[in-house]
Amino acid sequence: MLAKRIIPCLDVKDGQVVKGVQFRNHEIVGDIVPLAKRYASEGADELVFYDITASSDDRVVDKSWVSRVAEVIDIPFCVAGGIKTEEDARRILEFGADKVSINSPALADPSLINRLSEKFGVQCIVIGIDSYFDEQTGQHQVKQFTGCEDATRTTNWNTFDWIKEVQSRGAGEIVLNVMNQDGVRCGYDIEQLSQARAVCNVPLIASGGAGEMEHFADVFNTADVDGALAASVFHKQIINIGELKAYLKTQQVEIRL
């Protein structure tokens, strides 16, 4: 059977791994390559690298670290951040990344998703969605440019409508970051992810809120996502990936040990 995936996410800023709380106040966690290596050896199924500054401050970002990761890592990895054109995507894939993830540029120009998937195949085109639940209006809103607090804006897209839209344009996988939960470690937003699952026929990755091993079991067993992404619990060594996977196996989650 296809295994559920455990995916550590490394937010990258200026060539270092950083982590903030609810997308703010980024502190340096460590160098990219040793951290990537550590996660792979602990049993991570895949890695995601988010270059969180790239889209919001509109500069050319040095991506040579992608090649350094590809040299040492024998599991798949995805790179996000600043990919605005087919040429940007080609460069990242040629450096050795397996997938590219597009977020803000896809909102600015949805046809980018069509062009990328036709060029490189749907299997390597991931769409990242930053979703914010507004309690006052009861709406799930898609946010853009979340890498920088001042630049962050609310789009006109409802989260579930955007999920449908990106699939129709050729998204091969969707990572749903629930911003309300990000970095606070009180559990994935099971309700929102279940609603997303109902409209998502491509692999769906949960992001935002992991704090305890039970949260992973919940999101797999209740929201039926294909993978669970987390950052701070792994960086801060609150949860060991090997122990997490052994635990999930006891919770009847299909997992690669």
């Binding site: 059977m1 296809l2 295994a3 040299e71 024998d74 798949p76 390597c124 996988e173 026929n201 769906l204």
Partner: protein, 199 residues
Amino acid sequence: MIVIIDTGCANLSSVKFAIERLGYNVTVSKDPVVLQQADKLFLPGVGTAKEAMANLIERDLVQQIKNLTQPVLGICLGMQMLAQASEEGFGEHPLIETLGIVEGNIEKMEVAPLRSPHMGWNQVTPKLDDPLFKDIPAGSYFYFVHSYALPVNDNTIASCDYGSPFTAAVNKDNFYGVQFHPERSGKAGAQLIKNFLEL
């Protein structure tokens, strides 16, 4: 000499790095002389069948690959290229003619209610004592990313199940192919590449 056939596809470097991690030197080339002199060759591929075949034709590689007599390992779309034809075409040409080396046509996977593409780690069932799977523990997981596949046939040497069974690894004469990505399949994948290099 180990050669990765330069098909112009995007994942050449990850295959190259995986071979180098095993301590081998590797050359990336589309030069007919280099291809002929190689002891082992890799045929990588990502993207779409249409684009990959167009690349092979443009680089004058179709007949060269067919004429190879040394062991060749096709990876992912590179494996699919070994088949007779692929359904992964568009518009007026829904069926793309591929290299025609192994039996069968590449078909769109019918997986509903499961998700497509088939993406992630899945277990494969190899034939007993197949040399490509030597020293790989039963039940090992390999990393897959694809939405088209080769149905199981006489050339299948390992199968996988996602919605229905399909060919995970294939062999005919000196041509081998794997649907998964051994370069991204951890220890099991590294062992498979090593097995191929030691054939």
